[in-house]
């Protein structure tokens, strides 16, 4: 997960800087895309702005990882051994969520560091002025980096919880990944065309807003609140299904 995330993060940040440097207009890709402009990249926090472009793909990777981690126990039958060893299913699920949360923290940190390093490496070739990056001092830069990581991490966690809910309900990683990614990247885009502004409040758009520190449609605070609400509902549904449902074949 770390390798794939850092690789894709490198590619996307490279693309973001190259496109911004060329003056290429990146089309609005709906909930799956939020690409900064050249001016945004040249701003004082521009060294982390490229990360928002990778947020969706990081989210997809996280959703898939959480879904696989949750569903594989069912498809392999390992869940039988685990539940026998620890009959308190709530504790079992909490342990898994905690482990995945820590893993996602590490992945999001690696992705953030990768994005910063790639930004530094790509700014000059892309012709992005980086003078403002150091204007506010090291503390401010560290604060920007920390905030970018926190936003990315929060968005990735919510993506992961979406994957967890679907995986616990379907007990199939393939179905969980297909339906999760399909919904966020395809269905929600279609809903966006039909519903207009209302689509900005759907999970995919909210997660992009969180990772970007807010968008024109949704302020960061509102996005974070709604995102946390989605996460809590997701965890509640996962818990009820995991604890109550029979463990058959």
């Amino acid at each position: 997960m770390v390798g794939l995330s850092t690789l894709l993060c490198t590619l996307i940040v490279t693309f973001v800087f190259t496109a911004a440097g060329d003056g290429t207009t990146i089309p609005d890709g709906g909930p799956g895309a939020s690409f900064p402009s050249a001016a945004e990249l040249a701003a004082s926090d521009g060294f982390v702005s490229g990360l928002s472009g990778a947020a969706s793909i990081l989210g997809v990777i996280t959703l898939s990882f959480w879904a696989i981690a949750a569903a594989t126990d069912f498809s392999t039958g390992l869940i039988r051994l685990l539940v026998q060893a620890e009959p308190r299913r709530l504790r079992l699920l909490a342990g898994k969520v905690l482990a995945l949360t820590l893993c996602t923290a590490a992945v999001s940190l690696a992705a953030t560091l990768t994005a910063i390093m790639t930004s530094g490496a790509m700014a000059a070739p892309a012709g992005i002025d980086t003078a403002a990056w150091a204007n506010d001092g090291l503390v401010s830069a560290a604060s920007d980096a920390l905030m970018a990581w926190a936003n990315t991490y929060l968005a990735m966690l919510i993506w992961g919880i979406i994957g967890l809910v679907i995986a616990v309900a379907t007990r199939s990683s393939a179905i969980a990944i297909a339906s999760g990614v399909g919904y966020v990247l395809v269905i929600e885009s279609i809903v966006g065309l039909v519903a207009g502004d209302a689509a900005a409040w759907l999970p995919g758009a909210i997660l992009t807003a969180i990772a970007s520190g807010g968008t024109a449609d949704v302020a960061y605070g509102a996005a974070a609140t709604l995102g946390l609400a989605y996460a809590l509902v997701g965890l509640a549904v996962s818990t009820v299904v995991f604890v109550r449902r029979d463990i058959c074949d």
Partner: protein, 330 residues
């Protein structure tokens, strides 16, 4: 002492009753065989006992605790349900270590159970390189990890080679004689017959038989096939045997079949000799668990060992007869 007690335990799945008001008392200590045709409800029963699925009705206690309180007995039960499942990329030792950690057990126990199932030397290899038989051994090792009072094994010899089957069979026997209760669900009736002290036969979610294996085997439909040296004597032999209290029927091939235990074969011979008939064949056959199982679980209403009488009227005794060879099968 009772290891497992169920009262009207029932589980329904979408209109189908997998376990039907099942009431059982299984004794503590010893090896208990759980047999039944496919879809008879064995796995559902085991899953309910382990808290993996909830009963629709009724209640059950395992080791004195209600089954909805699995936490209290988790480390007193070890189970291998269906095929063994492990993380393939991890070694056998690492898999067992994670289970030991989850159960809060001493990791030192791992080497013990690995040795018990004969995997010493292979425990550091990834499970994905294991054969089915080795995975089965590892599954049994995982079940033994908590040093359980109750061991529930579903098809424990599945995938094992003949030597492995004997090894596991001996292991089950020794576990059963060391005060543990071992419940073995298996389709291999010879295995059940060889290792079990107690048998439960289930069909369509209901108990057909539950009791010591000796009691069940005593109900086996033992037969004696008898044929006169001269086929012309067949009818007269039948009459003589009927007069002596046996019910004899034609078994084909110039042979009569008596439903009688093998120890009555000499008496049959004496009756024939007393009537001046020399026997050409006298074969006593003991019923097997397989025969019993098939007769119990068959939809065809054949002989039922539960209602079958194996004690005919005591036959008269006759002396001084040349005995033909008696072969005993089963």
């Amino acid at each position: 002492m009772i290891a497992i007690h169920t009262e009207h335990l029932t589980r329904r799945f979408a209109g189908r009753t997998a376990v039907d008001s099942l009431s059982l008392d299984l004794p503590a200590a010893g090896v208990i065989g759980l047999v039944g045709p496919n879809g008879s409800g064995k796995s559902t029963l085991i899953r309910m006992l382990l808290g993996l699925i909830r009963p629709s009705d009724g209640s059950a206690w395992v080791l004195g605790e209600p089954i909805d309180q699995q936490r209290r007995i988790a480390n007193r039960i070890g189970a291998l349900i269906e095929s063994p499942a492990f993380v393939p990329a991890l070694s056998a030792h690492a898999n067992l270590r994670s289970l030991a950690d989850l159960r809060g057990l001493d990791p030192g126990r791992i080497d013990e159970v690995v040795a018990t199932v004969g995997l010493t030397g292979r425990e550091r290899e990834p499970v994905k390189t294991f054969s089915l038989g080795m995975k089965q051994r590892l599954g049994i090792a995982a079940a033994l990890l908590p040093d359980p009072d109750l061991l529930i094994l579903d098809e424990p010899t599945n995938g094992l080679d003949p030597a492995g089957i004997v090894e596991i069979r001996n292991l089950l026997r020794s576990l059963g004689t060391r005060g543990r209760t071992v419940v073995v669900s298996s389709h291999m009736l010879s295995e059940i017959e060889a290792v079990c002290d107690y048998v439960v036969i289930i069909k369509c979610g209901a108990v057909l038989f539950s009791g010591p294996i000796e009691t069940l085997m005593a109900r086996a439909a033992a037969t004696i096939d008898v044929a006169p040296e001269h086929p012309a004597d067949l009818e007269r032999l039948g009459l003589l045997l009927a007069d002596a209290g046996w019910r004899a029927g034609l078994a084909g091939d110039g042979c009569l079949r008596l439903t009688a235990p093998s120890h009555q074969a000499p008496a049959v011979n004496r009756v024939a000799m007393a009537g001046g008939i020399t026997l050409g064949r006298l074969t006593a056959t003991t019923g097997s668990l397989e025969d019993l199982f098939l007769s119990l679980t068959s939809d065809d209403p054949g002989p039922n060992p539960r209602s079958h009488s194996v004690e005919p009227t005591p036959p008269p005794h006759a002396n001084g007869a040349d005995s033909p060879t008696i072969s005993q099968r089963g």
